[in-house]
Symmetry: C5
Subunit: 343 residues, 5 copies
């Protein structure tokens, strides 16, 4: 970020770029993998709707050239190559810029930035890596007849792609919910000595993951609202009804995550309470054993002293009497402890 | 949600659908259970106000057909079959869509989504399962004369149904309050050794239930406000006064739940404080017993040593003197502890 | 609440109703206890300003009749008989409805709902039980000359009554503040062993009481603001200046209560910290006594063993040497503990 | 507050009133201590700008007379004599009322209410007690030439006085910050046994003081904003620029106090953590000593038993063997504890 | 702050002032270090864009003279010399004032206030000390051709400088994140006895640093928003697009810091939980050792008593029987503890 604003600099870890071109008309569609820029330029003139998907952000020259073809704003392109943007929507003269994070890999919950540009008749998407949740959208483009995707403009295609990304959060969020429930069950039903360190670490990890989700989803709501409230000519009122539906999904995701966070905070406090209760239980055992046997041991010590003149030691009934006295003391202590509810 | 938007897909666990038709005019009313779609179509033409109640959401074709009869919006129908929506109100050209959760079963506090569509002269409701809080409304429809339900339009009927659902929350919320009070009493008056794990688990469970209630009731306020503020022609100003009353109830519910949450958080902290106080009490007993008898036992150990030359052992007064000295030490320790307020 | 909206149903525990009528003109005033509805109807025609106070809400027919005389809205009357409303202000064509809670009994801090209706020339109040803070207002009505209460309209009388209720919160709030201060002093200056369970219970009780106060006072601010911002013809600009003063009092009450809550949360945390500090102190004593005497007792045990060949036992200096060694060990341990700051 | 609104009642603890009159014109200024009401009335006619400072609020008749001279509103005068008002600004026809708290005494941080009335050509201030931060303002009035105070109107003088009060908070807030830092240093660098009760009490006291400051400063921001946004003719645009500067100071004060509160909450939690860490350390010592010596003492007890037939006691190597075995056990325990990282 | 407003008073610790002048035209640029005021005055007439950078704030006369040359507002100059201002933007007739904090030294994270004035054709910056993040900007000014900095007006230069300061926060914030991660790893993977006091102190220090960052960055967002929303003629629409980008960076910084704070609070709670878990572990060891050996030692004490008539002592099998009985007791206790899951 030390460079002059508007100058694109590739992230050193960025992947090699490749272009996938999807050409759409009400009557036909064509998919070109590893398309060249010439293919793109040619398509722009021939097809009513094109979707250019650029995977990998290492090739700055290519990205700049795409920017030229579709007249994309330089600052927006800068955001494309600098991963880690907050979800946001921005409007330029004849196109909109929309950026959000998607879960790149369901297992590791790694995030990947995905950027959308769309105008009247084109959608350009930029992904950091291969792998996206767009396959169902491509499937629906292929099926010609009833598909709105073939008959509507770029705004509806952009909506369909954004919706696919938002919906791809649901499995991740549900998996988190399942983990929270599992920990809760284990804590409540656990044997008296649960492995506390494991739970503490696991809860903490989930908390971080949920905080991350929350921070990703909150600005997404604002970004979608910006799209819905825009008066740009290339976003139709009907598409806005659909975007509203996506916003509903985003709000549900946010609330689910928020609720998971509350549950987790409750679990962390419960874990502490249970741990404190466990301390009391252990200390209680120690106290009772000690408080009964330490006085008795003292008595045994008394009669183990080597004084010459200890008359009770000579008595034939000394030993049983001593044992009896000890038993009496033990019983008395137990009774006292029971009365005071310490047992 | 991977499907094309606007395509209805039944939840695999959805119940078989059945239609209940209620036909209302100022002078008469008719209840048709297990109505057919033909009944519905016929009724639409003959009766000034009809209420179609669809129980069970498995029959997608039926639901789509109902959508066609009343021109309901596809995205709203999608929300109907996808349970777990947030309470919300949406307006379409000639009808409104209102969705909320109702407590399906007072004992288990299981939630069920219930969706309302209403226009000028019809109300359509969709429920997931049998069992609803609408019986008093049906009762009031039957009683012809003074009932506003027979003389007013669909908006008032929709209000009456929504109001019935909102009011059905009161017993659940009150029951939660009673449970909170019971735990509070038990904690404060409990014997010194309350069963902490039970209380901790119970409090945690209540907390989750209350969080769920809160998340259900908060958006309900917004949804009701949307209805009240709408300028749709089919919602009369007078009905809005009544909806305002329902909103009042919803706000009271929210505030009661919020207050229960605060009390519960207080109880959780109190439980921790009491537990800590209990630890101190137990450790105090242990400390006093140990601190008095361990030194005494040491003394007994001294005089139990087997050295040949321990003059005090030979003395006739050695034993009583030793006992006296021990008693002295014990008294001294007790006095020290009392002075330092450790007893 | 299962009944048809607008149908009044008495609370089973409601008290028998009685009417107190206060008749006011600039030149005269008259107080009629246990007035009949005929008295009310007659007064309406003869006096420029009347105040009807209905104590006890059991007589539904009477309340409905009052509603008819003054044309009060049914939904508002429903709120009157259903205690537990949130403070609120509502406006109808020619009268306003204002409901709030008052402290019925300073000692038990029991709440009682009090409802106000006022229009151009009447104020109607409904109380649940006998006992109200209105005596000073009645006193000021009696004193004819300088009293604004005799010369102004119903809005000023309503203000004076509302103001009296709001001001009656001050002693309650101040008493809570005194209790908080008392607990704080006791905690900070207490002997080392304060009775923790008592404090915990007391703090928890105060916390609940304060939460209740907060929930009562917060909506009162909104309700008063609604009155002040209304453009109803029967509330004069000058009365609004006075209502603003009442709002100021309500805000001060809210802030005082809020501040007491913060202090209480601080006290609860302090109680926990002090308790933890106390645990450390007790455990410290236990540790030192144990750590010094347990090794010594072990040494005594060594020389108390009955082996035939323990040369040191035979030595004339064995015993004093053993005692000396023990003293040495004891001193060494004390020095080690002091160095490590454990003493 | 039980009295009729607008009736002034002196606080029983109010100090005797005294008037200080400052008369200002561009060319001259005059200071009259213990002025009479006649002086005031005379000055009003002769000087373009007068500042009347009333110290002590016991003389209700005097305060009412001042109210008459400057046509001050009765409700505002009521606020003047009832100390404990929230900072606020109110506008009347030709004058503004501004009330805030000032720190009366830097050492005890006692608060004192100070009220300002100002119109076109007068400022009236009411203080509870002698002692104010106005000396620099008086100084600047005395220096005739460059002083804006001599050439501008009452609004600028009022600003200068308010600014002086706001700035007088800085030393108090800075002193609190220093105390927080001192406690932080002591906690972090303290010997293992800090005096916890002192720190706990001190932190709690600071927390209360900071809460008080926060509650005093927050409404001050609103009050200043009210002044700045007013469209009263007697507050010039230029004075508003200066008031904005005062508002900036007030915001800085609020943020500093807020930050101190956060730090203090952090310190309280840290104190708890350190205390818990200390518990662990102490218990660790106890555990190690006990866990090593209790088994050894048991062994010594075994060989101290008086059974006739204990062959090892007869052996010449019994004693050294026993000692060796004990040493072995001790070493083994230490090794086990080290392996499990308990040492 | 006790002085008359608008009077500049140097901070006693302020550094000696020095002026650096940068002269810019589309065709040329010139850098004059240690410029005189005459240089400045001359440059104003000859160059279309000048940037005056004043390092060190001790020379009040110089600063006032600069104020005169560029007609800067006195209250703003007062803010320049009083370090510790909140970030803010203010607009005067023909120039804007912008103040923020920059990290003066990446290692110590010491803050330094930097003030900007800019109008149509000048930028004046004031720094407390040498060392700034402006070198890249100077570099871009030197490169004539493609640089927007040479062709645009003062607003773009001001943007470039503010952007450089905002971007200089990133390394600091990232370093904090790395430290948080390091502590987290250490806590989770640590040996059972982590050095708790170090972690507690380190976490507390990071928390304070993060609170400071948060308080610096939050008002920066507002200040940037003020710039962007201004309608001042000397800020072009295009520059606002760039300022929006800077605002984006500021928001990302704030959210990162906010997230680090949440993580840290989580870590502090986790540290407490782990500490509590550790207490349980240690106490568990103590309890088991004590609870097994204390009863056994008591038994040994019994048979170590010196009563004359203890028949079992005479028996040839007494000793092995006693040992066997003790072993039995030990095994029984271990079994009981295992059953109750205390081991």
């Amino acid at each position: 970020m030390g460079a002059s604003p508007g100058t694109l600099i590739a992230d050193p870890s960025a992947k090699q770029s490749a272009l996938n071109l999807t050409l759409i008309s009400p009557d036909a569609c064509e998919f070109i993998n590893n398309a060249s820029l010439d293919d793109v330029a040619a398509a722009c003139e021939q097809w009513p709707l094109i979707w250019l998907d650029c995977v990998g952000l290492a090739d700055i020259a290519l990205i700049e050239e795409i920017g030229n073809i579709f007249s994309l704003h330089t600052l927006a392109l800068e955001d494309v190559v600098n991963a880690g943007q907050r979800p946001k929507a921005e409007f330029f003269d004849d196109h909109a810029f929309f950026v959000l994070s998607m879960i790149d890999d369901a297992k590791s919950a790694r995030y990947e930035q995905i950027s959308f540009f769309f105008g009247e008749n084109f959608v350009v998407t930029f992904q950091e890596r291969e792998g996206d949740p767009f396959e169902p959208v491509r499937q629906r483009i292929r099926i010609s007849n009833p598909s709105r995707l073939r008959h509507r403009k770029a705004d509806y295609l952009a909506y369909a792609l954004i919706d696919a990304v938002v919906d791809s959060y649901f499995p991740i969020v549900d998996a988190t919910g399942d983990k929270v429930d599992a920990i809760e069950n284990e804590l409540l039903n656990a044997q008296p000595q649960p492995r506390p360190k494991e739970h503490i670490g696991e809860l903490h990890g989930l908390r971080r993951a949920t905080n991350l989700l929350k921070r990703t989803l909150w600005p997404l709501r604002d970004a979608l609202t910006t799209l819905i409230r825009s008066d740009a000519a290339f976003i139709s009122a009907e598409t806005k009804v659909y975007l509203n539906d996506t916003l509903d999904h985003a709000i549900r995701l946010t609330e689910t995550v928020e609720s998971q966070r509350e549950t987790m905070i409750g679990l962390i406090e419960m874990q502490l309470s249970l741990s404190q209760a466990r301390t009391n239980e252990i200390i209680g055992v120690l106290t009772i054993v000690s408080a009964i046997f330490i006085p008795l041991t003292f008595l045994a010590g008394i009669w183990g002293m080597n004084f010459d003149h200890m008359p009770e030691l000579k008595s034939a009934y000394g030993y049983p009497a001593a044992l009896g006295f000890m038993a009496l003391v033990a019983v008395a202590l137990v009774v006292i402890f029971k009365r005071r509810k310490w047992l």
